[in-house]
């Protein structure tokens, strides 16, 4: 576990789950630049499988995906022991109280809205890695 990733200089293992290819590339470039090891999943089912296989230190999860949403993925991640406490940062365009509250009720660790402010993203990732498993 690479808790404290950026501060300690250790790299973290981060899984990005997003069905948008351009967003996966962007997240990969930004997070790789900080020395993290990135795993990319191009959809929700691939994301659930990758989480079980790779056991990442942190998961960046898009909300709006098909055939199941990021919320559904979150529920499944929390039911599996290996990812039950893994920090999950949700990407959402819907910055509404209802959506955010529902995500927190389901066990999300934090969220960030699209379009993504890259500085804010890096700061949130660093904070979550310092905090470690929830």
């Amino acid at each position: 576990m690479a808790a404290g990733g950026e501060q300690s200089g250790k790299k973290a293992r981060i899984l990005v789950v997003d069905d948008d290819e351009n967003m996966r590339k962007l997240l990969s470039v930004v997070l790789t630049s900080k020395g993290h090891e990135i795993f990319l999943a191009s959809g929700p089912i691939e994301g659930i499988e990758a989480a079980a296989r790779k056991k990442p230190d942190l998961i960046v999860l898009d909300l709006f995906m098909e055939p199941i949403s990021g919320m559904d993925v979150l529920v499944q991640l929390r039911q599996v022991e290996s990812s039950a406490k893994t920090p999950v940062l949700m990407l959402t365009a819907a910055n509404t109280i209802n959506t955010v509250n529902q995500a927190f009720d389901l066990g999300v660790t934090d969220y960030i809205t699209k379009p993504i402010n890259l500085d804010r993203l890096q700061k949130k990732i660093a904070e979550l890695l310092v905090r470690g498993p929830q």
């Binding site: 351009n22 379009p115 890259l118």
Partner: protein, 126 residues
């Protein structure tokens, strides 16, 4: 490897002055690919509007909104949000107004990479 026959002879010619946008240098290697995809999306938006396929317009606009500002092109996200709303309300006049502006923007946008001069940033969350 993706082959873009549509732009085999170059991208559409810009009509008017370049629009300068300063992008985070960290995105240098992926911005050109994003802008090419954005041109494809603009064509798809145009076609969806012609077909009055508002569901498709909404989905494309949603993607446009999420990607634009993330890559440093805040204006694209603004138009994306407006198009999402217009698609929900089936307002073809709004869509017909924005899509040509979006295509024009994509042909005129001139990217430079200088973190110190970066001015276009997505809005901070509250």
């Amino acid at each position: 490897m993706r082959v873009r026959f549509k732009y085999l002879f170059g991208k559409p010619k810009p009509q008017g002055e370049p629009i300068p946008v300063i992008v985070d240098p960290i995105l240098h290697d992926i911005v050109d690919g994003y802008l090419e995809d954005a041109l494809d999306q603009a064509d798809a938006l145009e076609e969806a509007c012609k077909q009055k396929d508002f569901d498709a317009v909404g989905k494309l606009a949603f993607t446009m909104s999420g990607q634009g500002g993330s890559f440093g092109f805040d204006q694209i996200s603004v138009w994306g949000d407006e198009l999402v709303k217009a698609a929900k309300e089936a307002k073809t006049d709004v869509i017909d107004d924005i899509v040509p502006k979006y295509k024009d923007y994509l042909t005129r946008v001139q990217v430079s990479y200088d973190l110190k001069k970066r001015t276009e940033r997505p809005p901070e969350e509250s």
